[in-house]
Symmetry: C2
């Protein structure tokens, strides 16, 4: 499950790059990230053996390589369904921080928000989702609606040809094998925090 | 880093319990969670060796045990600072889904929201945070404000005696060793999703 560690490596490398640091050792990565240095060397060797004994890794090369592995060289078009507080927050986050991810369309069922805009993107009526997806290529469908609506939205995304679904609804949704599914569970991070508090 | 897997075990076991399933094998856990069966047996043995060869684990016992390890037997009082869309969404999520976590107080700097309520909890002026923490015991401080404000809020939480900080601001904050810090990074889940899409 090295993939679960790669986004963390990438985040840390981007931070080093922003601070002008050019080289990093597996020992430094270990200290910050909390994995052992040998785990880190093994992870990075899996992807082609960057780094030279005693010299560490060149930050920019390693980040570029990880970006390529993660598939961050291309842009991804997203549609978000469910523009309550959470959908609004996710939309803002993508717009502000993640250039590779383009919010192409927003949908909700609430007449009070339909027609308003977030960062220049209009919130459409959710009953137009199928028609929109038939006309527009969307890579990733985001579900920030309630759990009762989640499976229906996922079915529309699948029929509409998305490649992956990012699900924030607190329910397991069924997707066919060819669709990538990422479930977000806020409780995981909180439970991890409580473990550390509890074991102090 | 077995701790990073425990919240996922717990989530899955809670789901099995809700569906009335009484026993589960490491093979079943493996299939759902994507870790190897031997990894799972090793993780669970670390915490005292539940399960009997060939009989699997009793779902309720295993969940109870994991709850105890995670420290979920007690209640945690939370204060949330930054009640924009994200803070609102986090507050709703805690209120709806996580009984062990009690939202005790909400704070913001925006006069337009100060004085309004979420689930019966008033949004206070952020300039009252220090005074509030001096009078009220808070276990976990949640930062859902912007990154410019994050360190100042963290400093108030630390001075006010919180045990842990759950940080959603997209910045590294400094905390002393005795304070537990959990940073949430929405981008990690999205980057993981893109990796799977990209490698299909």
């Amino acid at each position: 499950m090295v993939i679960r560690r790669l986004p963390r490596y990438r985040r840390y490398l981007a931070d080093l790059e922003n601070r002008g640091v050019e080289r990093v050792s597996s020992g430094m990565l270990s200290e910050i990230l909390g994995y052992t240095a040998s785990q880190i060397r093994q992870d990075l060797n899996n992807f082609g053996g960057f780094g030279q004994q005693g010299y560490g890794y060149k930050v920019s090369d390693l980040k570029t390589e990880i970006d390529a592995i993660l598939g961050l060289g291309e842009q991804y078009r997203m549609a978000i369904v469910g523009i309550g507080n959470l959908g609004h927050a996710v939309s803002n986050y993508l717009y502000r921080y993640l250039d590779e991810f383009v919010v192409a369309a927003l949908f909700d069922v609430n007449p009070a928000v339909i027609g308003s805009e977030i960062a220049g993107i209009e919130i459409r009526n959710a009953n137009e989702l199928d028609a929109y997806l038939a006309e527009n290529a969307i890579d990733i469908g985001v579900i920030t609606a309630n759990k009762e609506a989640a499976q229906g939205i996922a079915d529309s995304f699948i029929k509409g040809g998305v490649r992956g679904i990012w699900n924030f609804a607190t329910i397991d949704i069924d997707v066919p094998d060819e669709i990538c599914l990422q479930n977000e569970h806020l409780s995981d991070g909180l439970h991890e925090l409580v473990y550390y508090i509890h074991s102090k």
